[in-house]
């Protein structure tokens, strides 16, 4: 719908200008009657039409003022008379005699120019020498320029070669130094590894020694603990036997509490 309206709206200005055929104008008008957007667009253009007409009307005083100014300027004096030299010139040009005269002058001029151009020239020695000197100067300048170019090329080539040699030498030196440094690095790493290995072995030996010592200490402590525990047990047993004898009042001691082994003997065991 929008595209259709756009197509119609393209033609609405032409409708106002009167540039459309009657058939096309009727078709367009029919669409406008049924389309609010196109109808609004037409109203806008009609308003512009009226506005432009009013503007033209409003500018009439300026046109009148212009006319008055021109008329006043025309009436100011004889200096404003039309210039007639163009007319005289045109009359001269149109005359057959003047045309013939112009043709003759043209022929003479052409003949003179052709004669000047084609006539042989006298050799001027000073001019010749001058030209020769100029030629030598040019050759000399050319030779100097060539020599300059060659010299620059040669210097450039030598510079490049020296630069290459220097680069190669620098690279070789740098490579040797790098190798030496790498060897030292490998050696130091190897020494460090050996030292580390030694230290680890020593640590293992120390650990083993410590273990044996700890075992021995532990064993002794257990033995001492067992003796002490046994003494204490015997003492407790004795106390129990005494307490039983005391509580019965007859000095009876159960047999299983009698066989007491002295601690010194147990220690020996």
């Amino acid at each position: 719908m929008e595209n259709i309206c756009q197509n119609f709206q393209e033609q609405i200005p032409e409708l106002i200008t009167g540039a459309l055929s009657a058939e096309r104008a009727a078709e367009l008008q029919q669409h406008i009657d049924s389309c609010p957007a196109c109808s609004k667009y037409l109203e806008g253009l009609q308003a512009d039409d009226k506005l432009l007409g009013d503007f033209a009307e409003a500018m009439q005083p300026a046109v009148t003022r212009l006319e008055n100014n021109v008329v006043a300027a025309l009436g100011r004096g004889p200096s404003n008379k039309p210039v007639s030299h163009i007319s005289i010139w045109r009359t001269i040009i149109k005359s057959p005699i003047s045309k013939l005269a112009a043709a003759a002058v043209l022929l003479i001029a052409v003949g003179y120019i052709v004669g000047r151009v084609s006539s042989p020239r006298v050799v001027d020695t000073r001019q010749f020498h001058h030209a020769l000197r100029e030629e030598w100067n040019r050759d000399l300048q050319l030779a100097l320029a060539n020599w300059d170019v060659r010299l620059r090329d040669e210097l450039g080539r030598q510079f490049r070669e020296e630069l290459n040699d220097s680069a190669v030498q620098t690279l070789a030196t740098s490579g040797a130094m790098t190798n030496e440094l790498l060897t030292k690095l490998v050696e130091s790493v190897s020494a460090a590894q050996t030292q580390q290995r030694r230290e680890i072995l020593a640590a293992f030996g120390q650990m083993e020694f410590n273990q044996l010592r700890d075992n021995s200490r532990l064993r002794n402590d257990f033995a001492r603990f067992a003796v002490l525990t046994s003494d204490e047990f015997e003492r407790t047993r004795k106390d129990v036997a005494e307490w039983i004898a005391y509580s019965r009042g007859d000095g009876f001691i159960p047999s299983d509490l009698k066989s007491l082994t002295p601690s010194s003997e147990r220690s020996k065991k």
Binding site: P13, G44, L51, A58, A62, S87
Partner: protein
Amino acid sequence: MNGCLEKKLVASCRKGDASAYTGLVNAYCGRVFAICLGMLGNSHDAEDIAQQALLKGFMDINQLRDSEQFGAWIGRISRNLCIDFIRRQKRKRTALFERTALPQSSSKEYPKLEGALAKLPQRYRLALVLYYFDGRSTKTIAETLAISQAAVRTRISRARKQLRKLLDTEGGA
């Protein structure tokens, strides 16, 4: 204007009769002003250049070959003077068409319209202004601008379209 009368007036002008030229000024003053307004887009400059064109027309009347073609001839003079003026203004780096408010009292009534007209391309503005200032005849405009009537109608229609858009943008005249 009647071709025969125009021819007589031109003949009198050639003899230096300024009063005869007044008749020609009266007949073509509006068209010359419209051409200048259409070319320059500014009524103040248009008035100045139109005056120069009409006076130059009288001074150079002997250069007019066909006495019945005064209208087309004075139109060409006006356009050439406008072109010269625009070139001079460009050299002075003056923004010619950026003026919206003009010193003339008439422009105060239509500042938006004049602003929008000034923004139109010159060939469209010229056709549109001539249409409204010179009797709404596409035939006369075609003769003045030396183009076909169809081309005149196309230019006017495009000018209307662009003017509508400009006035819409600026919120009406």
